[in-house]
């Protein structure tokens, strides 16, 4: 599935003294089966942007297209199943007495049979490495475990596009690595992932493409190396280090991920 934003504007509190134009004509496409990183400073419009992908927020002007069709003409509940949105700190919405009940809530509400609901819950928890938590109370889990359960609640609806808003905030480095692994495996299984993050280092590790927002406008869209090497001062640590060395060592190339950067730099010291 392909989701396009076409010249989308969004205004908070329109017509009041507190009016804020959060998006100023944003055009962006989420391609099938890609990991799209949305980056930009605090208040640049990242969360506002992604809430338009399933029309949780409605544009003041501009359009949202799903496989070329105006999203406003689609049934909202079906749209929101196909484009699953995981909010910042989604564990705040956990509510059921057990993890499996919590994850089963949405599929059950959609009227799926009990056998299928059980199967979806099992598969989704397994995918997130949380199968062993099924019978536990979500409130007795650690922060990283709660986060995975909350994401499972959205994934159990089998979305075609999964939107994650700051999914690693508050997670320890090991839990962060696990979550990035989940993002990669979702892409392998055909799901697109849109990941909002203020952490450029983690975006560098998983994104196929990056969209950089500033002041509610798209400042750049492209591959991680295109976007980051054009602005080394606001790039991940890997790109910042290599950019400082490229004048002296033109053969370094444009590595972005940690592994490839380390390999390129090792070459310098061993040459």
């Amino acid at each position: 599935m392909r989701v396009e934003l076409e010249n989308v504007r969004h205004v908070y509190a329109p017509g009041t003294p507190f009016e804020v134009e959060a998006l100023r004509g944003v055009s962006l496409t989420v391609e099938p089966q890609e990991v799209l990183g949305i980056v930009g400073g605090t208040g640049s419009g990242k969360s506002t942007l992604v809430q338009h992908l399933n029309l949780l927020l409605v544009p003041a002007s501009g359009r949202v297209l799903v496989d070329g069709v105006d999203a406003r003409t689609l049934a909202k509940d079906e749209l929101r199943r196909r484009v699953g949105l995981v909010f910042q700190f989604p564990e705040a919405a956990l509510f059921a007495p057990t993890v499996e009940e919590d994850v089963a809530f949405a599929p059950r509400r959609r009227g799926l049979g009990e056998v299928e609901v059980r199967q979806r819950v099992r598969e989704t928890l397994a995918l997130l490495g949380a199968g062993h938590l099924a019978k536990r109370s979500p409130f007795a889990l650690s922060g990283g475990e709660k986060r995975r359960v909350a994401i499972a609640g959205v994934l159990a609806m089998a979305p075609e596009v999964l939107v994650l808003d700051e999914p690693t905030a508050g997670l320890d480095p090991a839990a962060r690595e696990d979550l990035l692994g989940v993002v990669r495996s979702l892409r392998e299984s055909g799901t697109s992932v849109v990941m909002v993050s203020h952490d450029l280092d983690e975006v560098a590790e998983v994104a196929d493409r990056v969209c950089l927002l500033e002041g509610g406008e798209v400042r750049a869209t492209g591959s991680p190396e295109e976007v980051f090497y054009a602005r080394p001062a606001e790039a991940p640590a890997t790109v910042r280090v290599v950019s400082l060395l490229r004048d002296s060592f033109p053969g370094l190339g444009r590595p972005v991920r940690l592994g490839e950067t380390l390999a390129a730099l090792k070459g310098l010291l061993e040459a």
């Binding site: 400073g41 640049s44 007795a140 922060g143 990283g144 905030a169 320890d172 280090v241 400082l244």
Partner: protein
């Protein structure tokens, strides 16, 4: 437990926070969230707390300001027990939650920042002055009349920090105060905390080791136990300690370590690039 012993310099004056054999389990859980934890914070110290999710970091912070009541052992903050004197303790101890939404209550940013002050019985002019300074300190000038629910995660986090700074507490308990901030915002907030250095006692919980490189000490909590109380330099160079506690070096330090360069001295991409240049010339 790994301990500083005599190796580190102990900053600060008399103990302002002390915990002895502190133990706590959540209701209905058989596992101890915190087990037998003993340490002290001296007045003016800046101490980091790291460790895996579920290690007991947030539990510790909640015990220190009386949100939770210890099963056994003791906590004293300025000589008071937070469990029996929570209101007195909270006059001296300010806390910032991990999720900034947890602390925002008022319709406008400036009211939110003023909220805690309203309970202190300050003169109106002094309150205004403190609110203005706190908003300035976190870089939110111009946001005074914004509604908190229209702010981004990172902006909310700044509002919550401003509310805390306005109270001028002696002890700051910060539970991942920068989890929603981009690199520039993080540097700004850390810079602000650095300015308070020595005048406040800070306990700073973080998953980002790069935020704690200048801390006086770092406590490592894992599965409820205090497994290390060491200098940041020690922590960065102790690969076993890092690995056992699921700690990962920041990218710049990981690159340095991967290249066989001493990570503790190479904090920024600029430092590392310089070291690589020198290293390649030697060869």
């Amino acid at each position: 437990m790994k301990n500083l012993g005599d190796e580190g310099t102990r900053r600060g004056g008399s103990p302002i926070v002390s915990c002895e054999n502190l133990t706590y389990s959540y209701p209905g859980s058989s596992r101890e969230a915190l087990a037998d934890v003993t340490f002290e914070l001296r007045s003016g110290e800046y101490v980091g707390v790291v460790g895996p999710n579920g290690g007991g970091k947030s539990t510790l912070v909640r015990l220190l300001n009386g949100l939770l009541d210890a099963d056994s052992g003791s906590v004293r903050v300025g000589g008071l027990d937070p469990a029996t004197e929570p209101y007195l303790v909270r006059l001296h101890v300010g806390m910032l939650f991990q999720n900034p939404e947890s602390g925002l209550v008022a319709p406008f940013v400036e009211d939110d920042v003023a909220f805690g002050l309203e309970n202190l019985g300050l003169r109106r002019e002094e309150m205004r002055e403190r609110v203005r300074e706190a908003i300035q300190a976190v870089g939110l000038e111009g946001y005074e009349r914004r509604e908190p629910h229209t702010l981004s995660g990172g902006e909310k986090q700044r509002v919550a920090l401003a509310g805390l700074l306005a109270l001028e507490p002696e002890v700051l308990l910060l539970d991942e105060p920068t989890s929603m901030l981009d690199a520039a915002g993080r540097r700004e907030i850390l810079g602000r905390l650095e300015e308070l250095r020595g005048t406040r006692t800070v306990l700073h919980v973080s998953h980002h080791l790069e935020e704690l490189l200048d801390a006086d000490r770092v406590l490592v909590l894992n599965a409820g136990r205090l497994v290390a109380d060491v200098s940041p330099e020690h922590l960065l160079s102790d690969t076993d300690l890092l690995e056992e506690n699921h700690l990962v070096l920041p990218s710049t330090l990981r690159l340095a370590a991967g290249l066989g360069l001493a990570p503790a001295k190479l904090r920024t991409p600029e430092d590392l690039a310089e070291a690589i240049k020198i290293g390649s010339e030697v060869r």
